[in-house]
Amino acid sequence: MPKSKKQTKHSKRQNDIEEQKVQIRSQLKQLGEKIYSDLNSQRFPTIHFPSRSVRNIVYDKKTKQYILGSNTVTRTASNIKQIRSVTQLTWLAFFANELMSNKKSSTLRDVYYSSQAYAVDYTDQPESDSIITDLESVISTARERLNIYPEERSAIFGDLDIEYTVPGYEGNRANLSSHPDGYLIGPSLSTADFVGTSAEMIIAIEKGGLFNRFIEEKVHSKYKAIIIDTAGQAPRTTRYMLKRLHKELNLPVYIMTDGDVYGEHIAMVIVSGSAGAAHLRDLTVPSAKWLGIWASDIAKYKLPTIPMTEMDFKRVSELKRDPRYQKGVWNKELDVFLEIKAKCELEAFSKYGLTAIVDKYLPEKLEQAKSM
């Protein structure tokens, strides 16, 4: 275990976090007070928040990500079609406040079921999830800060010491290279303090299979890397984690995906966010680099391919209209996909032996990334 670990000022971070929590709770409380006073003055409670409709999602050149425009929506209890969602939103704010004050966390599914204890009825979980997104918009805060998490599926591995902050584990430390399957990126991990690391880079990889291969091939020590399995499109917790690792440890982020248009977009979302989270900040790593597999790598490395489907072509033409894909490698690779009409998976490198991707491809691409 390398001993030259970077030390972070975690006490300051904890203070920041505590401050943030106080602020979020006061926002929730203010929402409650507004609704309370509406009712007290014989007004139907009304809640305003930025619209998340497609028309109000705009690309911000400064931050190089999608943000919400100036349109707002109003939910009012005076409208019979909206009183239910006003009720749901009020309840959710109350429930989130309870979670935070009791230092408990909850999954999206938990929230859906918890509502039933309060006679708040949701038709299904998607309705509950959408109210959670509404509340995020109302207080401009990601649900994770409200202790509401999706089901976790992504994992992390590497030489990183963390100190838990969740109740019951405060002060407990762990090193993220001590379990060979990696650690689930969940509420406890994403809120933990980073104590120290010997790593010099982060490699986010799209697939669990390759994640395991990287661990087996000791990529973490060979390249001094923290490896993250995004398990497909990176969940918000994972993106938040990437952002923190990048910002707090000052480590570069590299992304490896399948050589297809979806893989390219997985990388793009890590770099510049998603339209679905346009109401949120702090989820992007604009300096992250997409290592590949690029469309042009397919010919270069003579990788076995799969023909592109109609869906793939449709997705390419959608992305061609996205402002973030107008230049650089993003634009160029889309064109190559259109040209070769083929795609490939990370596993394609196994053609050259199981270690080829780690021994040959990774160092070449890392070298290439330096000049990008």
Binding site: G32, Y36, L39, Q42, P45, I83, Y118
Partner: protein, 516 residues
């Protein structure tokens, strides 16, 4: 006269029994399944007619029993069909003829009845005899003390009953008639129609109690839900507009009237001396001449004139016996238990000299079941089960309740049933099978008016209901959610007491009530 006697020979050369024997397809006995169904309904209808004409609340028992054959149980096979009623019974002197002779009961009189002249029952006996060679057994009692049991068969050529055995047995105190008949049938294929028949019959005869035991031994019981009988129909004389050549030929043959003037006045509906005199002037026929002197051409000329003379008084409808609101409603309630029902009864009208009345019932919701408009058609209280699409009632219902449903605010797949009943001294069936009504413009017009009337009432009900529903929904939603918002906002803001939201909730509910 030569022509007349030639005609006479033609008509008497073949007995009616033989005629029906040769043409049994026409009367609904074309195959074993249809025959079993037709025999059942003919006997049940005879029983209902008998009870109603004597103002007895009908109790009818029907059983279909397969005759066990250990070697072969496949369909078609022999069934015993037993139909019992509590009707007035048949005079033992006339009973053999009633079932063993195809005859023209009330020759020149018309009345509204399910069957004409009780021919259907005899046809069933005839069919049984043809297919099984077994005689029919009739029990009948007019006093409830003695039951006369006849075992008889029909001599087809002579059109006469042959009594094989005759007994008198002790009665059980109730009058009535029981027919036990063996016939070849196919109960498996007849099953749906037979069950539909009983169900649809029950809808318009709520005053009857019907027990049906099917070929599998399953019992279906349709209880009596009202004790009101429809007013019995009266016999009436034919109206000149609806009288045909053959009728006139027979009338002239049988009459004792010395002049055409008397003949017209004595035998026709609402024809008095003045009308008769004016008519014969119009027809350019000497009204004093003897009916027997009329030539074939003269009869044709007179009948044509009877059809074209417009100043006959219209037929009156006292001879008709519509179901009426109470009975139709009782039937609808007991068979369909709808959320809403309404009935339209049209004033009497006439086509070709035959009076008729159209009654339409509408049932919505309840046990009606969604999936679009269901039509139950009846003519003289007989359910019409076949050829719905060809029926004028279906055309009318389709035009109004389906094609124009928006105009009546009828939702898609509405749980809607319409019951159309046409009663007449002569129902204009399009074919001999008594299955669907021909499109007589007079009947179509009355059906349209009646269907429009019930649909208008339905529209009123639906729009009242939808605004009531909307108010109720608003009440429910606000009464549920506003208190919840109050409670959550109290907890979230950390206040001790609920906000004072009750006045606004009350005001809101009162306002929404007022808007209705």
């Amino acid at each position: 006269m030569a022509l007349l006697s030639k005609n006479k020979t033609t008509f008497s050369g073949i007995s009616p029994s033989e005629f029906f024997y040769r043409n049994r397809d026409l009367a609904g006995f074309s195959n074993p399944a249809k025959a079993l169904y037709t025999a059942t309904r003919e006997l049940v209808e005879n029983s209902l007619d008998a009870c109603e004409s004597s103002e007895i609340l009908p109790s009818i028992y029907v059983r279909m029993t397969p005759i066990v054959d250990h070697l072969d149980n496949s369909e078609p096979r022999t069934y015993q069909l037993k139909v019992s009623d509590n009707g007035p019974g048949i005079d033992p002197v006339k009973a053999p003829d009633a079932f063993g002779r195809v005859f023209y009961g009330s020759k020149y009189k018309l009345r509204q009845a399910r069957g004409m002249f009780g021919m259907g029952g005899t046809m069933a006996v005839l069919y049984g005899q043809i297919t099984t060679s077994k005689p029919v057994v009739i029990y009948t009692s007019t006093d409830g003390k003695k039951f006369h049991k006849f075992t008889l068969r029909i001599d087809i050529q002579k059109n006469a009953p042959v009594i094989i055995n005759k007994e008198i047995i002790e009665g059980k105190g109730s009058t009535g008639t029981t027919v036990e008949l063996l016939l070849t049938g196919d109960a498996f294929r007849a099953s749906t129609k037979v069950h539909d028949y009983f169900l649809e019959s029950a809808l318009v005869t709520p005053y009857a109690e019907i027990t049906f035991i099917d070929a599998q031994g399953k019992m279906f019981y349709y209880p009596r839900s009202t004790n009101t009988l429809p007013k019995p129909s009266e016999e009436t004389q034919p109206h000149p507009h609806g009288f045909d050549f053959e009728g006139m030929r027979r009338l002239i043959e049988d009459t004792g009237d010395k002049s055409l003037h008397k003949l017209l006045m004595n035998n026709f509906h609402r024809v008095g001396a003045t009308t008769s005199t004016n008519f014969f002037k119009f027809a350019k026929i000497d009204h004093t001449s003897s009916p027997k002197d009329l030539s074939y051409e003269n009869i044709v000329q007179m009948v044509d004139a009877m059809h074209s003379y417009e100043s006959f008084l219209p037929p009156d409808s006292h001879c008709l016996s519509p179901l009426g609101k109470d009975i139709l409603n009782a039937g609808i309630m007991s068979e369909l238990s709808p959320e809403f029902s309404t009935i339209a009864i049209r004033p009497p009208s006439a086509y070709s000299g035959f009076p008729f009345i159209v009654e339409v019932g509408l049932a919505y919701g309840g046990n009606v079941g969604s999936g679009g408009v269901k039509l139950f058609r009846y003519a003289n209280r007989i359910p019409l089960l076949y050829d719905e699409g060809s029926d004028i009632a279906w055309q009318v219902v389709k035009d109004l309740a389906i094609d124009k449903k928006r105009a009546y605010k009828i939702p898609d797949n509405a749980p809607l049933a319409l019951i159309t009943h046409v009663c007449s001294t002569k129902v204009p069936f399009k074919t001999a099978g008594k299955e669907f009504l021909a499109d007589r413009p007079e009947i179509e017009r009355e059906l349209k008016n009646a269907v429009r009337e019930v649909l208008r009432k339905l529209r009123l009900h639906l729009s009242r209901k939808s605004s009531e529903d909307a108010v109720k929904r608003r009440r429910d939603i606000y009464s549920k959610y506003l208190p919840l918002i109050a409670e959550f906002s109290k907890d979230l803001s950390g206040k001790k007491d609920l906000p004072n939201f009750q006045p606004m909730l009350k005001a809101y509910l009162e306002e929404s009530e007022g808007n209705n």
